[in-house]
Symmetry: C2
Subunit: 152 residues, 2 copies
């Protein structure tokens, strides 16, 4: 798997995949950027949600469950000293389905986090992951994964 990333001037970069999909990145104005794209660390959190999101949808589809809506919120807290790695990541899955049971949704998320999601498996070497799962607006699961480091 290969990607190309090219510099656009100032602090801006554009990533390009072999399929021609692009990701625009830039630094914040406070550090010389122009906010013409996402911060790379935001892109990292998006990759995490995309990775586990595709797992969960794939598993729920195999269970023949219909998905009416599905949103994830990912919040990352970084350590203060360089390199400012994520030490805590909160990941909330909000799934709306007329026919899924809480057990099915919990199982899909657990399978992704514990078996399939490669981005989770990489990030949890440095960050503790706090997972919350909501089905039709109701919390059905909450668990932690990964590095249980003391965060300042």
């Amino acid at each position: 798997m290969q990607v190309e990333v090219e510099y656009l001037g100032q602090m801006a970069f554009r990533g390009i995949t072999p399929g021609g999909h692009t990701v625009q990145m830039d630094a914040a104005p406070e550090v010389g950027g122009q906010d013409s794209g996402a911060r790379p660390t935001e892109v990292l959190l998006i990759a995490l949600a995309g990775c586990t999101g595709i797992d969960v949808v794939s598993i729920l589809q195999k269970m023949r469950v219909s998905i009416q809506g599905f949103r994830m919120a990912v919040e990352g807290s970084r350590q203060e000293e360089h390199p400012k790695v994520f030490r805590q990541i909160q990941l909330a899955y909000r799934i709306d389905s007329p026919d899924a049971t809480a057990e099915q949704v919990k199982r899909a998320v657990r399978l992704s986090q514990e078996k399939y999601c490669s981005v989770s498996a990489m990030l949890e070497k440095t960050a503790g992951l706090e997972i919350a799962v909501y089905l039709n607006g109701q919390e059905v699961e909450r668990f932690s994964r990964g590095a249980m480091v003391t965060n300042k």
Copy 2:
């Protein structure tokens, strides 16, 4: 730092940053996707290049060096079993500059990889990073970082 990622149907997702920047993701057709966006693991490699790229530009700018062109190629190899984490990542920096010395460019890349780049610091817990640096088309540096695991 928080991002939202929403499901668009089939296997497609869209990430949204607080600044309103979006990243489109989708699975490959072989696994039920429609290739309407990047694979999440491609997005991860793009985040890596964006993170270290911004560092390098920022350091070179502080050195008052002009950058005429700058491209990065990132190639990741994943393990075969789940979770299919990256075990080897090759990252090539190709910088064109009329006035930068090899020492300046090497130092900028070293500083990013060894001190500043948070995405590198996270990924090198599972992957070995092989770094190559080119200045005006000539290789000026090559070094390795991170997990020197045996890869199959």
